[in-house]
């Protein structure tokens, strides 16, 4: 279970047969363990949803009330007559074939799944990347200027930004941008949707259209995350700035900027990698809100729809998607950490 082998290989020890095999074994163990976590998460969500939802309520509430036989048939179609674990296992068995079950409405989940995955990933990856770049640079900048007015300003600013819920931030961004759009007389940036419906742009025009839709929701996702990262990055950099090896580098004749850039930043980035992995899931929730506010039909929007439609299959599919993303982020973070810091040895599985 230790990243030891990966560390040894990364340190440039030996990329021969045994080393590759050890890395492969490490990767396999990680995948098995994390895959188990994903399935457990999906099962928890599925079980909770099945126990608390009543997918027949809508049918029963119709006027005139449909005959009991219709309701029973629907219950059978949804598998409500089989025990919960068995239903879950049957759902799982379909996954390798690309069959994600059916919605309450009778449509295959897989129909919408991949398109929505793409939508969510586009939005969330753009937002996260922007957040990391903004947050890390703001944090480093402020650490180097700690105690000055700009540092204080950023500190209070990030606190306020972290206090604004994502669903408010989205609306506020729209309110702020509306006069700008009006000033230009056109929709410079769009407030809702992924593309302009009915537009027949191709090539660059289509890409531009997408970007103009992407800008505001990306900002809504990125700003709070950036505020969050910047505070931790600032603390991590401050820790490093006080360390002996930087003083040694200065004594060796490097200027402050050189020493910090060449030796300090790399070390200060390391705790951020772990932080990113741990909080990735938390920030995904912000993505769910953003999709709703900006009218993107992604996974988050689907989750809210699934809950309103009392659909356990949709909930389980979205949960699995989220769990896989979080787990992959964790795996990536582990690998990056080992590559950044060859000292990481498997004393403790993180």
């Amino acid at each position: 279970m230790s990243p030891d082998t990966l560390g040894a290989a990364a340190a440039g020890k030996r990329w021969n047969g045994p080393a590759v095999r050890r890395v492969a074994a490490w990767l396999l163990r990680q995948l098995a363990w994390r895959g188990g976590l994903c399935l457990a998460a999906a099962f928890t969500a599925y079980a909770l949803a099945s126990l608390s939802f009543d997918p027949l309520a809508e049918l029963r509430g119709q006027q005139p009330r449909p005959p009991q036989a219709v309701i029973d048939a629907q219950a059978r179609r949804l598998g409500l007559d089989t025990p919960l674990p068995r239903r879950f296992v049957e759902w799982l068995a379909g996954l390798p074939r690309g069959d994600f079950g059916e919605t309450v409405g009778g449509r295959p989940v897989a129909d919408e799944l991949w398109r929505r995955c793409g939508t969510s990933l586009r939005l969330f990856l753009a937002g996260s990347l922007l957040a990391i770049v903004l947050g890390v640079s703001a944090g480093l900048w402020n650490a180097l200027r700690s105690g000055r007015a700009s540092d204080q300003f950023f500190l209070v600013g990030s606190l306020v930004l972290l206090s604004v819920p994502v669903f408010v931030l989205g609306t506020v961004l729209k309110m702020v941008w509306l006069p700008v759009n009006e000033a230009f007389g056109t929709q410079l940036l769009y407030f809702s949707g992924e593309t302009t419906p009915g537009s027949d742009h191709t090539g660059w025009a289509a890409a531009g259209d997408r970007l103009r839709h992407l800008a505001l929701p990306t900002l809504a996702i990125a700003l709070p995350q950036a505020a969050f990262y910047s505070r931790y990055q600032r603390a991590a950099m401050l820790d490093v700035l006080g360390s002996d090896f930087l003083r040694a580098a200065r004594a060796k004749g490097l200027r402050r900027g050189q020493a910090v850039l060449r030796h300090g930043v790399r070390l200060a980035l390391m705790p951020m990698v772990a932080l990113f992995a741990f909080t990735f899931g938390l920030h995904l929730t912000g993505g769910v809100f953003t999709e709703r506010i900006f009218g993107w039909s992604g996974m988050g929007d689907w989750l809210l729809h699934g809950i309103q439609a009392q659909d356990a299959t949709i909930v389980a599919s979205v949960t699995l998607f989220i769990a896989v993303l979080v787990v992959l982020a964790g795996l990536l973070a582990d690998a990056v950490q080992v590559l950044l810091d060859p000292r990481v040895r498997g004393v403790e599985r993180r």
Binding site: L159, L162, V168, F278, G281
Partner: protein, 296 residues
């Protein structure tokens, strides 16, 4: 307890530290601003209902969506409800939920983190596996999914569920800290003198964790207020006719551009509350860091 000479010493040292902590906090403008904001908000939440004749359910059809005026300081909402009265009601909910969730989840995190870190091996494996699983299940998802079940019950159940899914990150941090503390000499010394696990945990580990716990507790207050607001915004939290800041924001966001006060008032209360808690937490972290630096 009183007969032990050793017990008197740390107590006095603790007093000294607490004094200087209070002094340090008073010198920090961040702490003062945060504390003042929170005192104001708590005062408003407690006294508000006596200060004006409306409560959150009063509807005045003759004054629907009225602009802020002397009679209605923050205007009225769609059915003529006084926005200030609604916000104060929401504020009460937010504050109570924030504090309750913070206390429950910090306690839970401490128990699990200490158990995993101190007893190690199998307990550690099992507990951390559970923590990891909860970390990949967003709490919003879980609470939203079981919200139909909670709908007819007291909002206290919601508090429990939010707390149940919010302690995990803190537990990990506490476990890591416990692991490193456990290897320190004073713990070993206590063990060789025959101290039991309970004694070591209470007298040697917990005191070292207190600064961390205090800071995390404030973080949990903010996080809980925000998650309640998010849940209520999407209709999974506090249900009508009761209101919360989140549901008020949701009601107001549709008319944010035409009747801005309906939207901006609850947003203002929400942001100021969470900022106040955040300022206090940040100042606390600084003061405790400084204290630790002096102590070493």
């Amino acid at each position: 307890m009183t007969a032990e000479p050793s017990a008197a010493l740390p107590a006095r040292a603790g007093d000294v530290r607490r004094d200087s902590l209070a002094l340090r906090m008073l010198r920090d403008p961040m702490a003062v601003v945060g504390a003042l904001l929170l005192a104001l908000l708590v005062g408003l939440a407690v006294l508000g209902p006596w200060l004006w004749p409306y409560d959150h359910t009063t509807q005045r059809p003759e004054a629907m969506l009225a602009e802020p005026s002397a009679k209605h300081w923050l205007g009225t909402a769609r059915l003529g409800e006084d926005v200030l009265a609604q916000c104060v009601r929401g504020l009460q909910k937010s504050l109570v939920i924030g504090v309750l969730v913070a206390v429950i989840s910090t306690a839970l995190a401490t128990a699990v983190g200490l158990a995993a870190g101190y007893f190690g091996k199998r307990a550690d494996r099992a507990l951390m596996w559970g923590v990891d699983m909860l970390l990949i299940l967003p709490s919003f998802l879980v609470v939203a999914v079981i919200s139909p079940t909670l709908r007819d019950r007291s909002w206290l159940y919601m508090v429990l569920v939010i707390a149940l899914f919010q302690w995990t990150l803190t537990a990990r941090v506490i476990r890591a800290r416990t692991l490193s503390l456990r290897g320190r000499q004073f713990v070993g010394a206590a063990r060789y003198m025959g101290a039991g696990a309970g004694w070591i945990v209470r007298k040697h580990l917990v005191p070292h964790l207190v600064p961390l716990l205090v800071i995390d507790c404030t973080l949990h207050v903010s996080a809980a207020i925000l998650s309640e607001a998010g849940l209520s915004y999407f209709g999974f939290g506090i249900q009508a006719p009761d209101v919360s800041l989140g549901s008020l924001v949701a009601d107001g966001s549709g008319s944010a551009l035409t009747y801005p006060w309906v939207f901006l008032a609850p947003v203002g209360f929400l942001v100021v509350t969470v900022t106040g808690v955040g300022l206090l937490g940040e100042a606390l972290r600084r003061a405790l860091d400084e204290g630790e630096a002096h102590a070493v």
